[in-house]
């Protein structure tokens, strides 16, 4: 019966199909018995295999598919469960397409998305926290460090594929702004279900799909059990140290509540165990405006490369932070952040600084003992409306800090120094974007900032009391408006505005009598800037193009001997992003810029920056010309857990004024002088990481190369020099069984200093670091970690130091843990290293915290 019916339909269709010109009509039947096949999928593809049209056969096996206009060389594919797939070239000769399918099994590929370690959906990559977390991990930051593609710096700053993130969201809300160190260090990973990376994230909805971002954002997705609950955890610890007279102590309490309307994070922490709390209050997304006040005086000892800061940080630190976000019914956000820090730190170090000069090296030996004290109070209020057609953000913030430091030095020039630096600022930023009638954008931005910085340095070397006072105050205002036109996939914006900068500098050097030394100065360096900028952004399928052409007209007003003047600056830049494949992109950027000189360097007087260094500045104004080129490549295959990032850049700078270094008696003078001074910088960064699912781990490698070439006038002679740095760091981590996990990292660093006509100087550092965690039963977690530092300099002096730590945790219940730890078991007392500066080398030895024993209790509610 079916056979007969089928034949009848064939005949009927043979007639009807003649009239169909842009569509194909056909029948699907069983080859064995000619019975119609219903619900078969009919696919029309072009020669590239691209699906152009499709249909589904009805109960009588019929189908009708409208064909595209360009219908040459098409193929037809028919699929149906229980039948072999049918495939043939499609002929369009007004004939009825009769497809007879052979019965046959096609095994369908079965899948199960195991554990979902990493998932991707368009521009969102989702990491499942539980599949990366290990027993010894506490905070979400500990787990983020294990996720391929994500880098967490020691201070908590997060990068994705080598680029800083631009937002840190918790359940879609930006509670902490750039100060997300509190979240990474304190939020328990047990409260987070997943970490989402939102690639190419444009935080302002009004610009989505129009203005492109190469930065990603992170969003923490809470577990449902942790939402809308008050989460509290805290810890208390006590112990003793072999090298400290006082008892070791540490305590913290953290509370968090995340609901749809309200978010809150409060924390109060204190310790003297070497944990630097100020990192938690750094605003990682803060971008310095071009004319920020910078201090002149610095008694800071340089950070010790590679060594974890807590190894040599003798501190007594407290922080309190309170962050609140309230969302109104319409999604408008009010945010308030208040932070307080009280940080006291002491450093003991010995250094030998060698200045390489033609007439013979100058060597200075210093044994420094410093105690610094910083108090800071910051407050910030933000109101934000982020809608599809309207964006408003007003941020009012104030930052008050008092930095004091006392340092006693013995060695070549024994002395004691003391510095007091109160620093106050208040600023307000308003940004308003309105989308009008769908294709026009109006933006208004207003930024106003007042800042005051006072520095008082006093030095006593036994025979002489001398010092420096520097007072700076500034007011910066920037008002600009822009109009954007959306033309299809194109955004054209015209930006224009005015900014003004008023800056006063008062210097007073006392106690030093040297010829030709100007010690007192009162100077104002002000400017008025009128600017216009046109920006063109265009996106078409796999290509994004941005062309920016800012024009700035500066009118400078100087109170000193420098004449008032006007400058026009043009700085065109072009950026192209090619989406080579869905997960592979290449970005190329280039720009040419004439930059204004730094007002910081313009002064007649000599400013003492520490007991033996002077900054002399420049007594004229000029600009510098520069060009830069960069390329970056990014590839990810989240399903296979593979992340690849490579970036390279090269830049040239031609400032009219080059740097000058003069050593006169025991003092070093840094100044600027008009002489040709070309500098060239090159940088290459490669980062590859891959999950190792078979052992629930990851493997990766990071490579950094940088080269800086410059020229300096040293002791009246032009000296060419170059600094090169190379670092290679592979790492691997994983689980051997459910009761044993491990990680290992190796780091090789090579630094080179080449000075014209002098032999090359270099140093090599090899660092091996690893940790092993043993979990014999759910009650006990035992971690032992070690770091072997192996440093070598040109004289082949080998220095080895091995640091060993161990920690035993009793997981008494889900809410209580007791931990006993011993750090620096081998009681190593000092760390030595060699580093290079512009035309100098310094060999330092820094005092380490010795063997320390601690017992701590962790409680979570």
């Amino acid at each position: 019966m079916n056979k007969l019916l089928f034949t009848a339909i064939i005949m009927l269709f043979s007639i009807l199909s003649v009239s169909a010109e842009t569509q194909i009509i056909g029948l699907v039947g069983n080859k064995t018995d000619n019975t119609p096949i219903s619900n078969a999928n009919i696919l029309i593809k072009d020669t590239d295999g691209k699906l152009l049209a499709f249909g589904i056969s009805d109960i009588d096996g019929r189908f009708t598919i409208k064909l595209p206009d360009d219908n040459d060389c098409l193929s037809i594919i028919v699929t149906k469960i229980g039948y072999k797939p049918y495939s043939a070239a499609l002929s369009l000769d007004n004939q009825l397409a009769i497809i007879l399918m052979e019965e046959g099994a096609k095994e369908l590929q079965e899948v199960e998305v195991k554990a979902d370690r990493i998932r991707e959906n368009g521009d969102t990559v989702t990491y499942t926290v539980s599949s990366f977390a290990e027993k010894e991990d506490k905070s979400i930051g500990d787990v983020l460090r294990r996720m391929p593609g994500i880098d967490v710096a020691k201070n908590g700053k997060i990068q994705y594929q080598g680029v800083d993130i631009n937002k840190f969201y918790i359940e879609g809300s930006d509670l902490l702004g750039g100060k997300y160190g509190i979240a990474t260090n304190e939020i328990s990973h047990d409260d987070i279900g997943a970490v989402e990376i939102l690639e190419n994230h444009q935080p302002m909805q009004v610009l989505r799909g129009l203005s492109f971002s190469d930065q990603a954002a992170i969003n923490l997705k809470m577990k449902s059990k942790s939402k809308a609950s008050l989460l509290v955890h805290g810890s208390m610890a006590g112990g003793f140290a072999e090298r400290l007279e006082e008892t070791l102590w540490q305590g913290d309490i953290f509370s968090m509540m995340i609901t749809g309307k309200y978010q809150m994070i409060n924390t109060f922490q204190g310790n003297n165990v070497g944990r630097n709390l100020s990192d938690q209050l750094i605003d990682f997304t803060y971008r310095k405006t071009e004319d920020m006040l910078n201090g002149y005086i610095s008694l800071n000892t340089p950070a010790t490369p590679n060594l974890s800061q807590n190894r040599s940080f003798f501190n007594r630190s407290w922080i309190a932070s309170s962050n609140h976000l309230i969302k109104s019914a319409k999604g408008r956000e009010n945010k308030l952040q208040i932070d307080y820090i009280n940080d006291q730190a002491s450093v003991q170090s010995t250094s030998t600084t060698t200045y390489f000069i033609e007439s013979g090296d100058k060597i200075i030996i210093e044994d420094k003992n410093s105690l610094s004290h910083r108090q800071g109070l910051t407050g910030k209020h933000t109101y934000e409306v982020n809608e599809k057609t309207y964006f408003l953000n007003n941020t009012l913030s104030t930052d008050l800090s008092w930095n004091n430091s006392d340092m006693s030095t013995i060695g070549t020039m024994p002395n004691s120094q003391s510095v007091r630096m109160p620093d106050y600022s208040v600023n307000n930023t308003l940004k308003l974007i309105k989308r009008i009638s769908g294709n026009r954008l109006i933006t208004f931005t207003s930024h106003n900032e007042w800042k005051s910085l006072t520095e008082k340095l006093s030095i006593d070397n036994g025979a002489q009391h001398y010092g420096q006072q520097v007072r700076q105050s500034s007011f910066y205002t920037d008002e600009n408006a822009s109009l954007g036109f959306i033309l299809g996939k194109m955004l054209l914006s015209l930006d224009t505005g005015v900014s003004g900068y008023l800056r006063n500098l008062n210097t007073n050097l006392y106690g030093i009598n040297m010829a030709d030394l100007i010690g007192v100065e009162a100077l104002s360096t002000d400017y008025l800037r009128v600017f216009a900028s046109s920006k063109f952004e265009w996106r078409f399928k796999w290509l994004e193009l941005t062309f920016d052409f800012p024009v700035n007209l500066y009118t400078y007003f100087f109170s000193g001997s420098i004449n008032n003047r006007k400058y026009l600056f043009l700085s065109p830049s072009l950026s192209t992003r090619l989406q080579l494949r869905p997960r592979m992109s290449l970005t190329l950027q280039g720009n040419v810029h004439r930059s204004p000189a730094s007002l910081h360097n313009i002064h007649d007087s000599s400013i003492l920056t520490d007991y033996r260094s002077f900054c002399q500045g420049v007594d004229d104004y000029d600009t510098s010309l520069g060009q830069s080129l960069s390329a970056s490549f990014s590839y990810r295959n989240a399903i296979n857990g593979l992340f690849v990032m490579a970036t390279g850049s090269y830049s040239w700078n031609k400032p009219k004024f080059g740097t000058v270094q003069d050593i006169i008696d025991d003092y070093i003078f840094y100044s600027y002088q008009s002489h040709p001074s070309n500098s060239r910088n090159a940088m290459v960064l490669i980062n590859i990481s891959k999950t190792l699912d078979f052992m629930r781990g990851a493997i990766g490698i990071k490579e950094i190369y940088s080269r800086k070439e410059n020229r300096m006038l040293s002791q009246g002679l032009y000296t060419e020099y170059s600094n090169q740095y190379f670092s290679l760091s592979p790492f691997i981590n994983g689980n051997i069984s459910t009761c044993l996990n491990w990680n290992f990292q190796f780091n090789w660093e090579r630094s080179l200093l080449n000075i014209s006509d002098m032999p090359q100087r270099n140093s090599n550092n090899y660092i091996y670091a690893g940790a092993l965690t043993f979990i014999p039963c759910p009650l006990i977690t035992w971690t032992t970690s070690g770091e072997l530092y192996h440093t070598q300099n040109k004289e082949n002096n080998l220095k080895k130091i091995f640091m060993l730590d161990t920690k035993l945790t009793f997981n008494i219940s889900k809410h209580i843990e007791i931990t006993a730890s011993v750090t620096n078991i081998l009681n190593r007392k000092e760390y030595r290293y060699t580093a290079f500066g512009s035309l100098l080398q310094y060999e330092r030895s820094i005092k380490l915290r010795g063997r320390e024993f601690m017992v701590s209790t962790y409680i979570s509610l």
């Binding site: 999928n41 696919l43 249909g55 229980g82 797939p85 099994a105 199960e112 959906n121 059990k225 399928k541």
Partner: protein, 264 residues
């Protein structure tokens, strides 16, 4: 005797052929389903099973099925109480680690009739109505991707007031998908609405015994009538709770309820 053996062998060959041809084979697609109940609230999560055979499919919530199965057993209430007590003691009062209903719909699609029978409960009352299949006009996009190991093609379409962006694979030749979505030449493995309120993601696909619809016949209604009734019940849920418990709480929330369909 020999004749019998030959007949038996032929019969076995016939049976094994039938199995090999896949005619009686059924598959289960498992979807992770993120959904919103009200605007501006965090999404909830469900696990949907789509049991498919050559004639049609049944889409249902695993958790709802688990809960219904438990309550249909003679000592279901006792077992439920034990599981609830255990969950509260280990995870606290906000736990949801005990059997409870999530999505309350089942969608039975019949390929030949091109019709889907939708059953959904409001409180304990079951309602049912039919909707036509293949009602969505899909636009095939240029984007391709590999999802869960299957090469996929992107398509967009509008269905009852929501714009859906979906990825489907021709590797699994069932013109089907989660919930009421279907009509593409392959299984829909991922679907997201343009307001980001609902999202279906395939997490597994394997051979499995199809479940039969365990719910009894519901009260017949139409799609629009049912959705209006459901909306009304949700809006009045606070008043109903007050009436049942004798309380007098006032809901101040201005958040709107959202539904998979937005055109009623």
């Amino acid at each position: 005797m020999n004749k019998h053996i030959i007949l038996l062998v032929l019969l076995l060959i016939k049976v094994s052929n039938a199995v090999g041809q896949g005619s009686s084979v059924s598959y289960r697609a498992v979807y992770d389903f993120d959904y919103a109940i009200r605007t501006e609230e965090t999404q909830r999560n469900d696990c949907l099973f789509l049991d498919i055979n050559k004639n049609g499919s049944l889409c249902y919530s695993y958790y709802t099925f688990e809960s219904d199965s438990l309550w249909s057993t003679p000592d279901g209430d006792k077992v439920f109480r034990t599981l609830l007590t255990n969950a509260i003691s280990t995870e606290g009062a906000r736990t949801n680690a005990f059997p409870h209903k999530r999505s309350k719909f089942t969608v039975s699609k019949c390929y030949e009739q091109k019709e889907a029978l939708v059953k959904e409960s409001i409180d304990s009352d079951i309602y049912e109505y039919t909707v036509p299949m293949y009602d969505i006009i899909w636009t095939i996009m240029d984007s391709t991707d590999v999802i869960c190991g299957y090469p996929c093609i992107k398509a967009t379409g509008e269905y009852h007031g929501r714009r859906w962006e979906v990825w489907f694979t021709t590797e699994i030749p069932f013109s089907d998908g989660p919930w009421q979505l279907s009509g593409l030449p392959g299984l829909i493995v991922r679907a997201q609405d343009s307001d980001h309120l609902f999202c279906f993601k395939l997490t597994g696909f394997s051979r499995a015994q199809s479940k039969v619809d365990w719910r009894g016949q519901g009260e017949k209604t139409t799609r629009v009538d049912f959705l209006r009734r459901k909306k009304k019940a949700l809006i009045n849920s606070n008043a109903m709770t007050n009436a049942m418990l004798g309380t007098n709480t006032i809901s101040t929330s201005k958040k709107e309820y959202v539904f998979l369909e937005a055109d009623f």
